[in-house]
């Protein structure tokens, strides 16, 4: 009997579902983008095309405040995600490659603890803790708090990835007198890259978005993008918020497309 070749890459309906997924993700953003060009200060009535909100964002009275806030958000997110990813990779290696060690189950619970505590509780508790030890709140306090809650978001994809990688290559390397560090760095790490990238991305976006924890632990006068605009959303969204968001979106799309093209060019030249 002739055996059938099974093509597991293609399942009917999967591309369709992916399409649906992307539409669902981007539809609200389309609204945001469209209304950022709305001439009216209200987001529910359309009054014609206008660039006034973009002018307001760049040259308006609150421009410098938003710029600083955006800068803070992005730098904090980058640093927190990086540190969290490093910590998470180390932890994931321990959990899936170091056999049994004392306190392994507790470690698993610990890594996921930031995920399990409701944000408001973490926020209040961390502020109380910082005041109790006399730690002056400011940029650094935000960064530290962010690193902590980013860890599980980085950990879970990395760990999932690592569990799927058989250790045969590393075994072989060790048999050939490589040190553990070399086996880790030269063999495991490259194989881990998709997981690490996923972990970093998740940690990054969770840090960008955080409001409650940031608003409690930040120093007076320091703003991140969510804390700077959150109140605005409470009073009634002004389209300048839409403008900022659209800008952020465009910048990130540009950035990604750019790195993709550079990556492609790099590949071609190989």
């Amino acid at each position: 009997m002739k055996a059938a070749r099974i093509d597991l890459r293609h399942f009917t309906g999967f591309p369709l579902i992916t399409g649906v997924c992307l539409i669902l993700l981007y539809a609200p953003l389309l609204i945001v983008a469209v209304y950022s060009f709305n001439d009216s200060p209200s987001i529910t009535t359309w009054e014609g095309l206008s660039l006034r909100w973009y002018r307001d964002v760049f040259f308006g009275v609150e421009a410098s405040k938003f710029k600083t806030a955006a800068f803070n958000s992005i730098t904090i997110a980058s640093m927190a995600a990086t540190v969290a990813t490093i910590l998470a990779t180390s932890a994931a290696t321990a959990m899936s490659r170091a056999g049994q060690f004392k306190g392994k189950s507790v470690s698993f619970a610990l890594i996921n603890l930031p995920l399990m505590v409701p944000e408001i509780v973490t926020a209040v508790a961390t502020l109380i803790f910082f005041s109790a030890i006399g730690f002056t709140t400011g940029y650094l306090s935000i960064l530290l708090a962010h690193i902590v809650f980013c860890i599980p978001f980085a950990y879970l994809p990395i760990s999932a990835r690592m569990q799927g990688i058989p250790d045969g290559y590393e075994q072989a390397a060790l048999d050939l007198y490589a040190t553990r560090w070399q086996a880790f760095r030269l063999i495991l790490l490259p194989l881990m890259l998709p997981g690490i990238l996923s972990g970093f991305l998740l940690a990054f976006i969770i840090s960008l978005d955080d409001f409650i924890i940031t608003s409690f632990v930040k120093g007076a006068g320091i703003e991140t993008l969510p804390t700077a605009i959150f109140g605005a959303v409470k009073i009634g969204i002004k389209p300048n918020i839409m403008a900022i968001s659209t800008l952020l979106l465009v910048v990130s799309i540009l950035f990604v497309t750019l790195s993709y093209l550079i990556g492609r060019a790099g590949e071609k030249s190989n």
């Binding site: 009216s40 730098t75 640093m79 490093i86 006068g221 409470k234 009634g236």
Partner: protein, 344 residues
């Protein structure tokens, strides 16, 4: 990767310390969002050579929680509402203003000098006042909007199209006024009445949302919404055909004040700011921006004509405004339980 990490942390530390280095002439305000125009803050900055930073909160209780959790000492002034000023005073969070420290003290409108929450204005100066009743869309065809009956026993056309503020204080206060019972009542029958009223009225309410009240009216998602008077005025300016209500059973008044916080790091600048805000021109700028009223003599001539005449700032004759009251501990617990019953 480690090198990158080290340099980033170093850069961050440097950045953080550079922020602290500009410490000459600062002022730190804790404020409601989008209440004061940035231009006014810049004006103060220039006039007094002070760097102003402003943090925001979205409710009185959130402000109190943050201050109690550890933010005392970070801010110079805050802007709480009436009952919260009293609470803060009782909690020992306020500093007293010395006699004669405020040269503009005489500008305070006489009616607003001795308020129940700060007699003689020892720790606060008036900022803005308004009301938090509700607005009804004209399209709903309600002839007489000045009654809370529309909220607690609505006609068919309003059922399911009512939005309430997500705030225990205002909702229960409105309900108490409707029933004609005192706000901090400890009478069990009255409390049971209140409990039953609000729990059953909820069936007709579509949502609890303080932030999107204005948008809901503009979009027509809600035909009636509890809303702050300034927001209602803004909604009207943005095109909503609505009427702002002053219920004849009693309406809810609020008065925000600027308070001097204890352990203020820049007390002198705080006093300067409070004085600045007692200038008729300045406080009128806030009124024009946020669409509320103020309590400073002589500010009227700086206010927008439309604002001064607006229905939101001119309650019909005979209607009575009440501040939300802060109750004693035991009684407050009853009201907390009622609110949990409403939201469970």
């Amino acid at each position: 990767m480690k090198k990158y990490l080290v340099t980033s942390v170093a850069a961050a530390a440097l950045f953080a310390s550079s922020m602290a280095a500009q410490a000459e002439g600062k002022l730190s305000i804790y404020h409601w969002f989008d209440y004061i125009p940035q231009e006014l803050l810049d004006k103060f900055s220039k006039e007094h050579d002070v760097e102003v930073t402003m943090d925001t909160f979205d409710s009185n209780e959130a402000m109190l929680a943050a201050l109690k959790a550890g933010k005392m000492g970070s801010y110079d002034v805050a802007v709480p509402s009436d009952y919260m000023v009293k609470i803060m005073g009782e909690e020992g969070l306020l500093d007293t203003i010395g006699d004669g420290e405020l040269s503009n003290f005489g500008n305070i409108a006489p009616d607003w000098l001795n308020v129940p929450f700060d007699n003689g204005r020892k720790s606060s100066v008036p900022y803005q006042w308004g009301s938090s009743n509700f607005a009804v869309l004209k399209s709903a065809g309600i002839s007489d909007v000045h009654t809370s009956e529309l909220v607690f026993n609505p006609p068919e056309v309003l059922k399911g199209k009512i939005n309430m503020l997500d705030s225990q204080g205002e909702v229960l206060a409105l309900a108490s006024l409707y029933l004609g019972i005192p706000q901090c009542s400890s009478d069990r029958d009255q409390l049971k009445q209140l409990n039953d009223l609000v729990v059953s009225a909820k069936a007709n309410w579509a949502s609890f949302a303080s932030d999107t009240a204005k948008d809901q009216l503009l979009a027509g998602d809600a035909s009636l919404s509890m809303i702050y008077s300034g927001q209602a005025a803004k909604a009207r300016q943005e095109g909503a055909a609505l009427e702002y209500s002053f219920p004849k059973e009693g309406y809810i008044l609020f008065a925000d004040s600027i308070v001097l916080l204890k352990d203020a790091p820049n007390r002198d600048n705080a006093i300067k700011f409070m004085n600045f805000m007692l200038e008729p021109e300045n406080v009128a700028a806030v009124s024009n921006y946020a669409q509320y009223g103020n309590n400073v003599t002589g500010a009227d001539k700086f206010m927008d004509a439309a604002l001064a005449k607006s229905p939101e700032l001119n309650p019909p004759a005979g209607s009575k405004g009440h501040f939300v009251e802060a109750c004693a501990q035991e009684v407050q617990e009853y009201y907390d339980r009622i609110w949990t019953n409403v939201k469970k």
